[in-house]
Symmetry: C2
Subunit: 412 residues, 2 copies
């Protein structure tokens, strides 16, 4: 949970025509908390997703991938998503797959569609059997309260160690018509997404052709959920899903069209907002850090260096302490694995403060200036490599006592 850090409470969430949301308290791990979410989609909807690259990818992720693949062959649209918290259904072998399929079958029966038209998602503890009977028992309750304006409740229903629900809306005008986009996400630990965050869902009422949505989901993930890290732990369940309900009559079927340009800009901006909310509510976070690496030979090396800084426990604890022990940033740059990096050309800035010039302490750098910036709750670390035109930005948080407390006590 974030500590001493303002995470905005979601407000003004807009229903997206063509999608309804229902929730239940299914008692999956703990009593009296929303832990089951169903989203139903209009039959006109297209859906696309990106998923964790963790080799231990959870059973629901495997089923999601298979159902999205099957959709391309059968043309039978995805009709609903079922999401539970409290149990990740990961590291559960064949039984886990059977349980994920059973959840889909149970919801399909209730909705009158095929099991392969359901996408399942789970988040929570790994290596424990999914209590699928509780999910089955909860589904009728969730369906009973399906509504278009349940987004706030939906964001609550997918929380684990999150302290606040994460959701946002925006609209974009396309061809004189208003397209609505609303999304939800969850953190708050095991966050170093690789192709997607733990759970992120963005819906819109545009009518988006499947190949266009397939492309957009990758672009949006790469510019949002794939740019964050809390602890460097890539989850087994990371999933990021775009849903275009087609309820409006705005068609987006050409990636070179102005319609695509407008929609993709809105999707990326909303996805970045949702991804950054995960960091702002990062476990134990007291500071939000933007790390930008510029003048690199490639985007990949810029990302490597940014993540090396963002993962360093020594950097993260120094930021927690507001201690400008900034040599730790140089050390993290140095071990990022860029073999031919010439550190004698490197420059480091903390917000507006020029800390290191040509690889050494800037002669004008004053500890007091570093101290002033370190005390802020939002800080930008900027590294200039002087070896090219590429750049990359990631977002992360500090490492506090509360991170240790939360993760030492998570299951108790």
């Amino acid at each position: 949970m974030a500590v001493n850090f303002p995470v905005p409470v979601p407000a003004n969430l807009k229903p997206v025509p063509g999608i309804e949301l229902g929730f239940a308290e299914a008692g999956i791990r703990k009593a009296n908390r929303k832990d089951l979410l169903v989203m139903t989609l209009a039959p006109t909807a297209t859906v696309a997703g990106v998923f964790t690259l963790n080799r231990f990818c959870a059973a629901p992720v495997q089923v999601c991938k298979a159902h999205l693949e099957g959709m391309r062959i059968s043309n039978a649209p995805i009709r609903a998503l079922v999401i539970n918290t409290g149990n990740a259904n990961a590291g559960t072998g064949e039984a886990g797959l059977a349980n994920a399929n059973a959840s889909c079958a149970a919801l399909a029966d209730l909705l009158g569609c095929g099991a392969s038209q359901i996408l399942p998602f789970s988040t929570g503890v790994i290596l424990e059997p999914l209590p699928v009977d509780r999910i089955k028992a909860g589904l009728p309750k969730a369906i009973a309260n399906l509504k278009a304006d349940n987004w706030y409740h939906a964001a609550e229903a997918i929380m684990t160690t999150d302290t606040l629900p994460k959701a946002a809306s925006r609209t974009v005008e396309i061809n004189g018509k208003t397209i609505t986009l609303t999304g939800i996400s969850k953190g708050a630990g095991m966050i170093k997404p690789n192709m997607a965050t733990m759970l992120g869902f963005v819906a819109m009422d545009a009518k988006v052709a499947q190949p266009v949505l397939d492309h957009l989901v990758k672009v949006a993930a790469d510019k949002s959920f794939n740019c964050i890290t809390i602890d460097g732990d890539t989850s087994t369940n990371d999933s990021f899903i775009l849903m275009a309900t087609g309820a409006s009559d705005v068609d987006v079927n050409d990636m070179d069209s102005p319609e695509y340009a407008a929609l993709s800009e809105a999707v990326i901006a909303l996805s970045q907002e949702l991804a950054q909310l995960i960091i702002r509510d990062g476990e134990g976070a007291t500071k939000f850090m933007t790390i930008t690496v510029e003048e690199g030979a490639s985007v990949e090396e810029c990302r490597k260096i940014a993540y090396s800084i963002g993962h360093s426990p020594l950097v993260k604890t120094a930021f927690f302490a507001s201690d400008p022990n900034l040599g730790r940033i140089l050390a993290a740059i140095g071990y990022a694995g860029i073999d031919d990096l010439d550190v004698s050309k490197l420059n480091l800035y903390l917000d507006d403060v020029w800390v290191a010039r040509n690889g050494g302490r800037h002669p004008d750098y004053q500890e007091a200036d570093g101290q002033r910036v370190m005390k802020q709750s939002e800080i930008t670390i900027r590294v200039k490599l002087a070896r090219g035109d590429a750049s990359a930005t990631i977002w992360t948080c500090d490492l506090s006592h509360d991170y240790v407390s939360i993760n030492a006590d998570y299951r108790s």
Copy 2:
């Protein structure tokens, strides 16, 4: 500093003929602590070292490398080492190099040798100018108390956040003669050595040919200091040095000889002991973990997986809490970057407890068994990949509140 964890106090340290050690309180960062160490070597000595691969390698590391290289050309032996704590002389640019050279020149003047016959080492805060005048002022004091049996004081003089000095001795019989080996090391944070630990020095009185010592230092580092991690932060100053004084008449000049076999076994065992002491005294450590990955296709992939587990903040905090939340280990294996890893064949053991079989929870696994092992202060995590014959072992510690406290407060 280690917490609730028994780190042995060095005892029975044996002098190594041909080497003397002197120390001083030079006030480099704080008053009234030993922070300067000089080691002098017999003119018969050979010296070899391995150093950090961090691109921001500190000024003294650069000078060490140059002086060792120069020794090969000039044949003028290394006569002394000068080591300071309190300041790493890293991220200090040209001024840092000048200061490292000035330290060597000052000691060379006092000893009557060339500056290039001195190896300098620094450890402490990065990005701050080295107070070289305090080092110069301290050197005569250090030389005044040079003694062969100062190893305990020497181990104290290189401490930073270490709670206890780290040193060990052993002897080995070669051709009926006794060779003495004594070494010291220091941690205790920014520890994920890459070719060497932060600082490790091992001396022996055998007469070892330079090419043999050059080989042995790499072998010993790979089997000891390169197998440990506390926080994944590879230091700018990592250095591991072997010194063979040649004071005995035991010659080791052939890597295929029984003499080499006996000596290398002793050097590796002593180096492992010194490396493990760093983990036992790891910042905030309450548990010592051995991570062994077996049945891999290559040593490299076994090491990747072992480090992925050993660096995971979620795994480390679970061990701190004695919480058998072992799915976190599976997640860390899954994101280690082994693209073709078939997790359905994987087995996981915690000491004698079989936790996961064929990628899923073992049907006989009981939480109580996991709990029993997790409460121990020494734990072995064993992973079997079922894809080859390679294996690798690393040593690490847990992540506690005290790690955060120590590193949030390090400079204050």
